[in-house]
């Protein structure tokens, strides 16, 4: 591929304009799913084509781009998407959360609080929070327009009746500015509180499902719950084995075949920054 054969950030300007319009509409109506004419991208649906299109539409040559998958900069798909934009947009890249102006993510929100001027782009597989309660798009759109979210509350109630807890641990539904129920993408519910009142712009792209939605800075985002069963952000109850952090989301790593495991930060940048500052967990070298 001669990279000069493609426009800046791969997509042609007309397409980017179409996507930017959808983004602006999404920012104007927080939590509302805006249909957009998603394009076939050179990576498969399910690999983040929605996020890639949103990133392509918002990137400028001066941006510094970071990509994480499961919180990590070095997972194969994060590497692949980062190199895609290095090739087609020539933008600078970074793994440091605070240095990035645009961050594309799959399944996590960075541990370090985001700042004004940053854009967080989420890859979304199923944008419709009501999809598994009602498979029909024509029906779910009607439910959103009528603000008819009873079905969702019934589902959460049934969880409590059956398990004593709401049995949703990721892609936990939220309500935006008291209006739209929104799927925050499959982030663990540990990350849900970071969605709210965030100084950065948060954009959600679902390529295969052809939807874009957004949270403008400082938006009110409330995880659905009940007064007597309040929402609880949960994490594994351990410190990070490498950096000792007790406030980060942890991955469980199996270390041998005799039940040995350890817990480490899923956000690699957070963990490395802490280690560089001298923090040590009990499994650190």
């Amino acid at each position: 591929m001669t990279d000069q054969a493609y426009n800046f950030a791969y997509l042609d300007e007309q397409t980017k304009r179409m996507i930017r319009r959808a983004i602006l509409k999404g920012l104007a109506i927080p939590g509302y799913q805006v249909p957009f004419a998603s394009r076939e991208m050179p990576m498969p649906y399910g690999w983040g084509t929605g996020g890639v299109q949103v990133s392509a539409a918002v990137l400028t040559p001066d941006d510094r781009f970071k990509v994480i998958d499961q919180g990590a900069d070095d997972t194969t798909n994060a590497v692949s998407i980062r190199s895609f934009f290095e090739r087609t947009a020539g933008v600078a890249t970074t793994t440091v959360t605070t240095e990035a102006t645009v961050i594309q993510t799959r399944h996590r929100i960075p541990e370090v609080p985001l700042a004004e001027g940053q854009i967080l782009v989420y890859q979304v597989p199923i944008p419709e929070p009501l999809r598994f309660l009602e498979p029909r798009e024509s029906e779910t759109r009607k439910m959103h327009s009528l603000e008819e979210y009873g079905l969702m509350h019934v589902k959460l109630y049934e969880d409590i009746a059956r398990h004593g807890h709401i049995a949703t641990s990721y892609a936990y539904p939220v309500k935006v500015e008291g209006r739209y129920v929104m799927d925050p993408s499959p982030i663990p519910k540990f990350d849900n509180p970071k969605l709210a009142d965030c100084p950065a712009i948060q954009l959600f792209g679902a390529g295969r499902e052809q939807r874009i939605y957004a949270l403008p800075p400082y938006t009110q985002v409330v995880s659905l719950d009940f007064e007597d069963h309040p929402f609880e952000a949960s994490r594994a109850d351990h410190p990070c084995g490498l950096c000792g952090a007790v406030d980060s989301y942890l991955d469980e790593v199996i270390t041998d075949d005799a039940g040995g495991r350890m817990f480490v930060c899923s956000d690699t940048d957070y963990c490395e920054t802490r280690q560089a500052a001298g923090h040590r967990g009990k499994d650190a070298a």
Partner: protein, 365 residues
């Protein structure tokens, strides 16, 4: 002592190199040329063009070579290329009545104007492996006998004959510009033009199975193949600078019109109804399937009952017919999901602890 797995970049590079090696296979065997694929695997090329929505046999052949013969992967390569192409304009609707037919059969009339033309079909072959093909450097194939040099007679559409008697529903001319599936998001309800657009690029296997299900009683609507024609049509485009249309090329198409029983409904009199299929290239199975599914999806406008059959459900059919979307989402589950899995682990452990199934368990570190 645990060291986080690094080196995704190197892993990807090595995987790509290995893939290229596997694609080439044993280097002592001659490499396939694009021309060989185009000429000798032409039905695969046709399928890739049809589902890739791009009529270019050479690019389709290249995609098949690059995809190691995985046709859905080849369709994907074509789609991803197609989406980067600029749009110069739209052609005029092609006139299939003027098709230079290689094949034209009707299952509803024994003989008819324009005649029955069998063409290059597998239909009456015996499916016996031809070991002569395995012998390399075999003799040249037998040439088919050419018909006379007389100019081909016009081949009018079969449904036109039925129309003269008013026995089949009208298909009135409609000049409304059709919606463009590749430039607008698919939204429901979808009109027939949009449904046909989605079906013509739909996965052949999915379309076949849906069509088959209608034959077996899931929204049964017995279809006769009124006509199946395969051949080339001229593609014309209006050139604003010239003020008239010129031929810019020709393409091979397969068109299938079905004639379906219809006993009438509250709104429509008893008459035959239509299903329609039109697909790039020689893609007979797909075109017939498309016509059956098209007919099944028309239940509402014809005032038929909703049988709750999958083939009647436009949302179900259209949202699941695209194999690039389907394969992408299906295969993405092999990407890492350990963050979500971890949160599920925590939840299940918590629920089991409370159910008394499992004692508090500390991680053995």
């Amino acid at each position: 002592m645990y060291v986080a797995v690094k080196g995704g970049e190197a892993a990807i590079r090595n995987a790509h190199a290995w893939l290229a090696e596997e694609r080439r296979g044993d280097t002592s065997v001659a490499e396939l040329s694009i021309a060989q694929i185009r000429e000798q695997l032409s039905l695969a090329v046709n399928r890739v063009m049809a589902e890739g929505s791009l009529y270019d046999p050479d690019l389709a052949a290249l995609a098949i070579k690059q995809a190691r013969g995985d046709l859905i992967e080849a369709v994907f390569l074509i789609r991803a290329y197609r989406t980067t192409l600029p749009r110069f304009g739209a052609t005029r609707p092609v006139e299939t009545a003027d098709m230079a037919c290689d094949r034209r059969i009707s299952a509803t009339f024994k003989d008819l104007p324009g005649g029955q033309i069998l063409g290059p079909t597998f239909d009456y072959t015996h499916r016996l492996l031809d070991f002569k093909l395995a012998a390399e450097g075999g003799k040249e194939v037998q040439q088919a006998e050419q018909a006379g040099d007389a100019a081909p007679a016009p081949v009018p559409h079969v449904t036109g004959f039925l129309n003269r008697e008013g026995l089949i529903e009208e298909a009135p001319r409609d000049d409304t510009p059709p919606p463009d599936l590749t430039r607008e998001p698919l939204e429901m309800p979808a009109d027939r033009a949009l449904r046909l657009q989605a079906l013509t690029r739909a996965d052949e296997g999915f379309t076949l199975s849906l069509a088959y299900s209608t034959q077996r009683g899931y929204a049964r609507n017995h279809a006769f193949v009124g006509e199946l024609r395969i051949g080339t049509v001229a593609v014309e485009m209006d050139i604003p600078e010239l003020g008239f249309a010129i031929d810019i090329g020709e393409i091979t198409l397969t068109e299938c019109e079905t004639v379906n029983q219809f006993t009438g409904s509250k709104t429509e009199p008893p008459q035959f109804t239509r299903g329609y299929g039109l697909v790039f290239g020689q893609t007979e199975r797909k075109a017939i399937s498309m016509a059956l599914v098209d007919r099944a999806l028309r239940w509402e406008e014809l005032g038929e009952d909703d049988m709750g059959a999958p083939a009647q459900d436009a949302e179900f059919v259209l949202y699941h017919s695209d194999n690039i979307q389907a394969t992408g989402f299906l295969e993405h589950i092999k990407l890492p999901h350990y963050v979500d899995f971890q949160s599920e682990l925590e939840l299940v452990r918590k629920l089991r602890r409370e159910a008394g199934a499992e004692p508090m368990q500390e991680a053995a570190e």
